[in-house]
């Protein structure tokens, strides 16, 4: 046995050596990439990180993936309740971030950051000369024009204006005053409208250089002293549906150079007396133009951002509610995936998790929680 031991050891080493020689080390430095066009059931959870606003992040999630670990596709950083918008004709996502040179203090710089969808990396930026507005996140603070040649950002200093950026040339084009009027709604091919305190829309059409070519004001169509319009509209293909505090739905068609203001009608009926729309992102529309609205039963002064207990589905052309979905957990925001076939309704619930419902039936499919977000106050379906 004593004689055998060295032999056995030598044999063992030989075997191990062979095994070592056969094992290829995994490559160093491999970085994953994403497809240029994202699947329809991917969403972007825009976490503005409410109590640590310098550390915002936007997380890409695949809602079809059953394994929660694999549903997380990657993330992008941004800062200070960043504005966000997606292009459809370029694989790009835009964030308008604010940075201070010493984190929470020092020199402020406002910058439009251009991210590539395949690498989730910044590929360019445009420094903004006018400080952008800082407010609770909502979709209509930054939008692309319909032709996607310009990015429009809402400023509040407290003077109100819109910054115009060319994201392809990566140049700032200028600042358009929007006195007394807030937010940006793409209007026509290369223009925008803002909602004004006197119940009108102010519309600016821009030329190819992003300079104002014409301005106009609509007739008054709501009275903010009686029933304020909520600017957090449902939007699909250039058409918007605005809820009001008291539960009207106001359609506006922004596809032409001038917005066409439709007839408002009540979302409340005898069954739902006392209910009101509510939430931070109370409304969204699907690819068929159906409108989804968060609603809560205890309407009163100050309840316009209360979480919804139900989502109501409307056919706005018929001015009819077609369904009522009771929510598993009260919701603060709704969004839809872009597909016609099997759209998903994503509800941000009060625990900051995402409840994923079948948009056609209201059936709860899953809850996506604990994915590294603190306050993903806006969720965007992938364009």
């Amino acid at each position: 046995m004593k004689k055998l031991l060295p032999f056995l050891l030598a044999l063992l080493l030989l075997v191990m050596g062979t095994a070592m020689a056969q094992l290829q080390p995994e490559p160093m430095g491999k970085i994953e990439t994403l497809p240029e066009k994202w699947p329809a059931h991917w969403v972007l959870a825009h976490d503005v990180s409410f109590s640590r606003v310098m550390d915002g992040r936007t997380i890409v999630l695949d809602l079809d993936e059953e394994n929660p670990a694999r549903a997380y596709k990657g993330m992008m950083n941004n800062s200070f309740a960043a504005f966000m918008a997606q292009a459809t004709t370029r694989p790009e996502i835009y964030f308008a971030s604010i940075y201070y040179s010493r984190g929470t203090r020092g020199e402020r710089i406002d910058v439009l950051e251009i991210y590539d969808k395949q690498t989730l990396s910044p590929i360019g930026e445009v420094v903004l000369e006018v400080p952008r507005a800082i407010l609770l996140p909502q979709r209509f603070t930054m939008q692309l024009t319909r032709d996607e040649s310009l990015v429009l950002l809402y400023n509040f200093t407290p003077a109100m204006s819109v910054s115009v950026v060319d994201p392809v040339a990566r140049e700032l084009r200028g600042e358009v005053p929007t006195p007394g009027c807030a937010a940006v709604f793409p209007t026509g091919e290369r223009g925008f409208s803002s909602v004004c305190a006197d119940g009108t829309l102010y519309t600016v059409q821009l030329d190819a250089d992003g300079q104002p070519a014409s301005t106009s004001r609509s007739a008054q169509f709501f009275d903010a002293g009686v029933d304020p319009l909520i600017e957090k509209a449902a939007w699909h293909a250039g058409k918007a549906w605005f809820p009001t505090f008291m539960g009207q739905l106001q359609p506006v068609d922004f596809t032409g150079d001038q917005p066409v203001i439709g007839e408002a009608w009540s979302m409340i009926d005898e069954e739902t007396t006392g209910w009101r729309p509510g939430g931070l992102a109370p409304a969204a529309a699907d690819a068929d133009g159906r409108v989804y609205m968060l609603a809560h039963p205890e309407g009163r002064e100050g309840s316009h951002r209360d979480p919804g207990m139900e989502v109501w589905v409307f056919d706005p052309d018929q001015q009819q509610r077609v369904d009522r979905y009771e929510l598993a957990m009260p919701g603060l925001g709704v969004s839809l995936t872009r597909d016609r076939e099997a759209p998903l309704l994503v509800v941000l619930n009060v625990e900051m998790a995402l409840d994923v419902y079948d948009a056609r039936t209201g059936e709860l499919r899953k809850t996506v929680a604990n994915f590294g977000a603190e306050t993903p106050l806006l969720v965007y379906g992938a364009e």
Binding site: S51, R105, L136, E298, G302, P307
Partner: protein
């Protein structure tokens, strides 16, 4: 925000588990409403000088009368008070102004909701009561904006509710 309030305190799960769905919804309704019924009122009698504001309630609590349209962290829980900023912050002069009903003398007072700025969020005593809040196109009545305008830095720490006068009814 009341929901954030509950989130930070980790009370939502608690609520959902302990209550039946119906009462859960009812409670979420009232908690969100910022109703005084959900939080104990601590009567604090104050000496009333001529020209001073008669006081009742707890300035560290979201249901305190002056906070009727507050949306943010209460400075009284962050090292400041209902009318003063925490150490090392800067009070924004530019702000929005609303009215709140004082339950002691049943009078509407004019409240200036100044933000304290220059440090990141206090994170303590989140309070959202949107009574009188109007959309962003009426900024003079809106609490969604960060009102750290006119301060050296726009980093938001907390909000105060200064009484600056009496309103007409």
């Amino acid at each position: 925000m009341k929901w954030l309030d509950r989130l930070i305190e980790g009370r939502t799960r608690d609520l959902a588990q302990r209550s039946s769905r119906r009462s859960f919804l009812a409670r979420v309704g009232t908690v969100v409403a910022g109703s005084a019924a959900t939080l104990p009122l601590l009567p604090v009698a104050r000496a009333q000088d001529e020209g001073s504001v008669p006081e009742s309630g707890d300035p560290h609590s979201c249901d305190y009368w002056r906070y009727c349209a507050t949306d943010g962290f209460l400075c009284s829980c962050c090292g400041g008070s209902a009318s003063s900023c925490p150490p090392g912050t800067e009070m924004s002069p530019i702000t929005w102004i609303g009215t709140c009903l004082n339950p002691v003398d049943n009078t509407n007072y004019i409240i200036s909701y100044n933000d304290c700025c220059g440090k990141s969020a206090c994170g303590h005593c989140m309070c959202t009561r949107n009574e009188g809040d109007r959309p962003i196109y009426r900024p003079q009545l809106n609490n969604e904006y960060n009102w750290c305008l006119g301060t050296q830095h726009q980093t938001y720490n907390c909000s105060v509710a200064r009484v600056i006068g009496k309103a007409f009814d």
